[in-house]
Amino acid sequence: MKALRNLFDKMRPTFSEGGKLHMFRSLYEGFESFLFVDPIQAKRGTHIHDCIDSKRLMTFVIIALMPALLFGMYNVGYQHYQHINETVGFAGMFLYGLGAVLPKIVVSYVVGLGIEFTVAQWKHEEIQEGFLVTGMIIPMIIPVTTPLWILALATAFSVIFAKEVFGGTGYNIFNVALITRAFLFFSYPQAMTGDKVWVSNTILGTDGISCATPLAEPAKTNLIDAVTGLIPGCIGETSVIAIAIGAIFLIATNVASWKTMLSVFIGGALVAFLYNNVCPDTNAAAQIPWYEHLCLGGFCFGAVFMATDPVTSARTETGKYIYGFLIGVIAITVRVLGGYAEGMMLAILVMNMFAPLIDFFVVDKNIKQRMSRAKTTK
């Protein structure tokens, strides 16, 4: 640690104003404040300083994502060997998954951070750390067979058009990772849906094995597999247990709001229960029991990691209940009545759009209440 610190101190003049590598200043500052505490400190006056800045917050989310990611890697290998009828040990499966998933993480980070660093340098701003979490989530919400060039294109698109044009980290209306997925979903439907994309045939994932997804053929799935996560699906979304570990960590460290998470599940459960009893037998998606609905597809992952994104979700405490509840409602409704098999992505994007409106009415109601109270006491 000390050596690293010395290295950074030695390198500082090269990157500061007039130095040889001044054009990479933002890169240097970005890494320095990622590894250490920000060197720029207030010199005068009294300040209460908390080490939990947004970089540390993001680091917590990354840690919370780890169980789902590691399990996802294992599951990629498990599904592969399951479908080619071979038996390999745990390590073999995991290594296979690591080989398939790691390139995606690298591509997502290189493209996304590259654009962020360029923009920061160009606008003479500090590096924003928002891509840290986004870059980890993107590989987890796509099928394992997604070609890397498509992933790079989609990441570039969403970082530029969903984030930088709105003003960078903290100003985006929509969840950047979900925009990446939406871009892939609408641009390259043949690579994102269907029965050939969920299980990879080769290590780089360029080729798929045909297999039905649980949401398309619910009868073939049993609940135990859906909870442990040994089902085909996007890389990080399958295991309820791994996501639950992440959720507990996020709630315990106070990083994500339990109100949003809880209300997503309540909304989804209520509506799914309703459809169970109302819809005719011919609608296969409506016949999935409500508790299975919550375990399948990207419902859990979306509820825990995407709906709770502090930038795009509702910010008022009451608003979080409404926001989460409606996400659950829309997600299940799209699954049952809509044309797509999975509705979580669309539900969260739609509610991202309405989050400011929800906040506005919650605040407005509060102001009115207090006004009327002030009048009556007068």
């Binding site: 070609p147 060039w149 498509i150 058009f161 871009f183 609408f186 641009s187």
Partner: protein, 209 residues
């Protein structure tokens, strides 16, 4: 002859092509430019149709501008535009049937195109016929240029072709390249249009100030 191509008249034609472009600067006629630009051919046909209609409706209105009662001028303008649109629509149906099917209602909807009414009100009502004609032509072509750019980008990325001819080689597809399905959707047209306006404004930043 010299008065025909005086500086003002030339400007009436050239300005809307670039510095006062109806789409990129005035931000008019957006809806149709999103709807018809999924391929280059309908975009070009649409652009040329609009150019002809703006030019001639400007000309006609400018000719009768002194006889139009001020209180009913919008109705008169609409009648002229509607007549021209009907002529163009019939012409397209007779000679370019495929494209007219592709354009469907959007040819008829040229009547409601903001560029037309905007030019009639802002220019033709108080300028001479020749200047008005040039202005209409300029605005129409300014619209057509942007349509052609967006249409070309959408067609090459969405279908790999230009004007229906395959441009991207089969080898590229064999190597794993795929057409971008979102390019065919109007949502992407809006984003592309935004990029065109972005590029246009950053090029013309100096001159605007």
């Amino acid at each position: 002859m010299s008065t025909l191509f005086s500086k003002e008249n030339k400007e009436a034609f050239t300005k809307p092509l670039n510095l006062d472009n109806p789409i990129a600067v005035q931000v008019l006629g957006i809806c149709s430019s999103l709807a018809v630009t999924s391929q280059l051919k309908p975009a070009l046909v649409m652009g040329i149709s609009v150019a002809i209609i703006t030019a001639f409706s400007n000309l006609v209105i400018s000719l009768i501008r002194n006889t139009i009662p001020n209180r009913v001028r919008i109705i008169v303008q609409l009648v002229v535009v509607a007549a021209l649109v009907t002529i163009v629509s019939m012409f397209l149906k007779a000679y370019l049937y495929d494209v007219s099917v592709q354009l469907s209602v959007y040819v008829g909807l040229i009547i409601t195109n903001c560029i037309l009414m905007g030019r009639l009100e802002a220019f033709a009502m108080n300028h001479t016929p020749w200047a008005s004609f040039l202005d209409g032509l300029g605005n129409g072509f300014g619209y057509a240029i942007i349509l052609a750019i967006v249409g070309a980008i959408r067609e090459i990325l969405g279908a790999g072709s230009i004007l229906g001819f395959q441009i991207l080689p089969q080898g590229l597809y064999d190597a794993g390249y795929m057409n971008n399905g979102m390019m065919v959707m109007p949502a992407m047209a809006l984003i592309l249009l935004g990029c065109v306006i972005w590029v246009h404004r950053s090029i013309n930043k100096e001159e605007k100030k």
